[in-house]
């Protein structure tokens, strides 16, 4: 049963993460071309952190960092008169009321919380990638269009929403579809974040079963489970490729790009 749920977990992760990451990316890209210097630095450095560092480090880092950050904040608010230090040697101790999720919470809350931190982590990392793509796309919109909008008396905000944003998608699409493929291929990393995903179940169910402990004794089947996963991912990327191809064709109607012809 868990295995089938875990496929849904992966699909749910993709469905939630993709728009969230796009939102993060949009924010990052907008910040990076802002006229307020600190905001611009923030956006640029957000984009820049993805370069030079393996993303798996971000995944491992953010999950703990988010968890500890939230608990620390709740600790400051909920238990103001707690005197002991939070970091005691090798321990991270907050007062019981600040624990996330509360130790009295039912099991599903723990699972949802784990999943939520994973989603936020993915969104942060892929948001940076998306910001990079969207930033490039915003630069690619012909400057003449923006100047024309200005000449018509549109304010900066109006130009941004009415001219720049509608036009940038076609430039962003190749990058974004590439990103979607990468996102699909990053989902097995959920396993590292402690979510019981398909990799977890493939390992669990595939491992050898003894007749004494299980109704269905079998040898080591992990090979076949992972072969199944490989085929699943291959099929998934293949289908996505076909769908994205159609979207590109659709979006490039009436655009002066190479993709528009034929």
């Amino acid at each position: 049963m868990g295995l089938y749920w875990s496929f849904l977990t992966v699909l749910a992760l993709l469905a939630i993460t993709a728009p969230t990451a796009l939102l993060f990316g949009f924010g990052g890209a907008t910040a990076a071309r802002s006229h307020v210097a600190p905001l611009r630095w923030l956006g640029k450095s957000y984009i820049a952190i993805v370069r030079g560092v393996p993303d798996i480090i971000f995944f491992l880092f953010f999950v703990i960092a988010i968890d500890q950050g939230l608990e620390w904040a709740r600790h400051q608010i909920l238990c103001p008169d707690w005197t002991e230090a939070i970091r005691q040697g090798n321990d991270f101790r907050v007062c019981p009321a600040a624990k996330l999720p509360l130790s009295t919470a039912p099991q599903w809350v723990h699972e949802v919380y784990g999943f939520a931190t994973a989603v936020v982590t993915f969104a942060i990392v892929f948001g940076a990638f998306a910001a990079n793509v969207l930033y490039g796309a915003m630069q690619a919109v012909p400057l003449g269009q923006l100047e024309t909008a200005g000449a018509y008396g549109m304010s900066r905000r109006q130009t941004f929403w009415r001219v720049l944003v509608p036009q940038m998608w076609i430039y962003a699409l190749p990058g974004l579809s590439n990103l979607w493929m990468i996102l699909i291929k990053a989902t097995p990393l959920l396993f590292l974040l402690g979510v019981e995903d398909i990799v977890y179940w493939a390992r669990e169910l595939g491992g050898s079963k003894m007749a004494r402990f299980s109704d269905y004794p079998h040898g080591d089947w992990r090979l076949w489970y992972f072969l199944g996963l490989l085929v699943f991912y291959l099929g998934f990327t293949k289908i996505s490729e076909a769908v994205l191809e159609r979207i590109t064709k659709r979006l490039s109607r009436g655009q002066a790009t190479i993709g528009a012809g034929t």
């Binding site: 480090i57 491992l60 960092a65 396993f191 090979l223 291959l234």
Partner: protein, 267 residues
């Protein structure tokens, strides 16, 4: 223990030289830097060997893909599809269990170790990605150059080695630089997949993860890995930039292709 002693004890820990036991508690910054740095040996080992072997394989596959004969083209296409279309993480797992089966059957037992098995997976993976790059480059060799070669009376192999291949390398090099960087980043996945770290000899991220687990504090160990990786990425960019300069040495200054970092992120 002073920092120098720590370096002596743990500097080569990842290849099994020095202190056997990893530090257990009260980690100093020096210990973390040293151990993570020693893990970096494996990252470099995987990246350098996989790139060197993968380069030749990738050229062969790219040629296969651009061949006219279907018995050459189809396998090349499938090879590229399988290795580019599936996550590297799953490939590691699958490969490990295949090697385990082989070992049980008594064949090639050394493939279950990360040094050989994971290297093989990385070679195949980078070969697939680079083959796609090289194939694209082969197709975008300017027609004029080929016609000029024809006019000089070059045919077949001579034309390929003297004109087509060098030009395609020139065209492919910026993209190949990115591939090299991201292969280097992908080496961190090795010890998080099926491959076990024998006697706690792991790569940089393996040790960083060890420290983060023990201290429950991600804010020290992971930035250290990130620091190392940024430095080494700069080194790779530098080396590939030198090669790029040499490849394009006959061109006027402004025409030379600059290497642009276009990350491919995860595979």
């Amino acid at each position: 223990m002073s920092c120098l002693e720590t370096i002596q004890a743990y500097g080569l820990r990842s290849i099994g030289i020095g202190e056997r036991l990893l530090p257990k508690a009260d980690f100093t910054l020096c210990q973390q830097f040293t151990l993570i740095g020693s893990g970096l040996i494996w990252n470099i080992y995987f990246a350098v060997l996989a790139l060197m072997i993968g380069f030749f394989l990738a050229n062969a596959v790219a040629l296969g893909k651009s061949a006219r004969a279907p018995w050459l083209r189809r396998p090349a296409n499938w090879f590229i599809l399988v290795f580019r279309g599936s996550p590297l993480f799953i490939q590691f797992f699958l490969a490990y269990f295949i090697f385990l089966r082989l070992k049980q059957a008594g064949a090639l037992p050394w493939l279950t170790s990360a040094q050989a098995g994971a290297l093989l997976v990385l070679v195949l993976n980078t070969a697939a990605y680079s083959a796609e790059i090289f194939y694209g480059a082969l197709r975008s060799v300017p027609k004029g150059e080929v016609e000029a070669a024809d006019a000089y009376g070059m045919t077949g192999w001579t034309r390929f080695t003297r004109v087509i291949w060098p030009t395609s390398m020139r065209l492919a090099w910026p993209a190949y630089t990115n591939e090299a960087i991201f292969l280097f980043h992908a080496t961190t996945l090795v010890f998080f997949s099926g491959f076990p770290a024998w006697q706690q000899r792991g790569d940089a991220l393996y040790y960083a993860n060890y420290f983060a687990d023990k201290t429950f504090n991600p804010f020290v160990a992971y930035p250290i890995v990130a620091f190392y990786f940024i430095c080494l990425t700069l080194v790779i960019t530098g080396i590939f930039g030198l090669v790029n300069k040499r490849l394009n040495r006959h061109l006027p200054q402004e025409k030379r292709a600059r290497i642009k970092l276009r990350p491919q992120y995860i595979r």
